[in-house]
Amino acid sequence: MVHSAVTTDPIDPTSVLERVGSPEDGATVLFLGIVRNHADGRSVTGMRYDAYIEMAEPVLAEIAHEAAARLGTERLAVIHRVGALDIGEVSVAIAVSSPHRAESFDASRYVIEEIKKRLPVWKQEHYTDEPARWVDGTVPPGTGGVRA
């Protein structure tokens, strides 16, 4: 079953992995997005994720179902964390499984790339010695101007 969620709780990668896999599958891919301690030469102390939660949940579900269609199985789980995260914490976890590896790598990559393109989530970097800053983002498709 395709699973997607946006949560304020810490993500346990093992529990995400447990949502996928089957005796038919020869491949499982787990992707973890992690808060790192540097950005553009600055020293980062943490990250605050903000979301339009009522929209982020259905958009993430839509991305997950699109990826599952590419994967060819329903064995896909994605969880995105919001709130204040420390260095080393997991911001997003994507687990997928399929009979062969190509589909799992492809679906996993699709989910993270689409999250970056269109999930209504923002992150604010906090630094040791300067004010926090919203990270530059991407204008989602289907908005940001007039219809083509």
Binding site: Y52, I115, W122, K123, T138, G145, V146
Partner: protein, 83 residues
């Protein structure tokens, strides 16, 4: 006769305008573009919002020419940065 919509502001836009949501009265037949013009026309701090922002109407991305109805939820969406 006016139509009232609920404007939402997130992340950097919330910081710019100093609020997360506000009701805005528009003329019947108004579009997203009219909402943006109405807000920016109020001057500071609303004039710091982009003239052509990304928006979502009732939780679906929409263009500036999208017509609005009473009680629509119009979110101003800064460039997204999830992951």
């Amino acid at each position: 006769m006016t139509l009232s919509v609920n404007a939402l502001f997130f992340a950097s836009y919330r910081d710019l305008v100093g609020t997360s949501h506000m009701a805005v009265e528009l003329s019947p037949g108004a579009t997203v573009s009219d909402l943006v013009a109405e807000l920016r026309g109020r001057g500071a701090p609303f004039d710091t919002l982009p003239a052509e922002p990304a928006v979502a109407v009732n939780r679906t991305y929409a263009f500036l020419d999208e017509p609005l109805s009473a009680d629509d939820e119009v979110a101003f969406i800064p460039p997204v940065a999830g992951g």
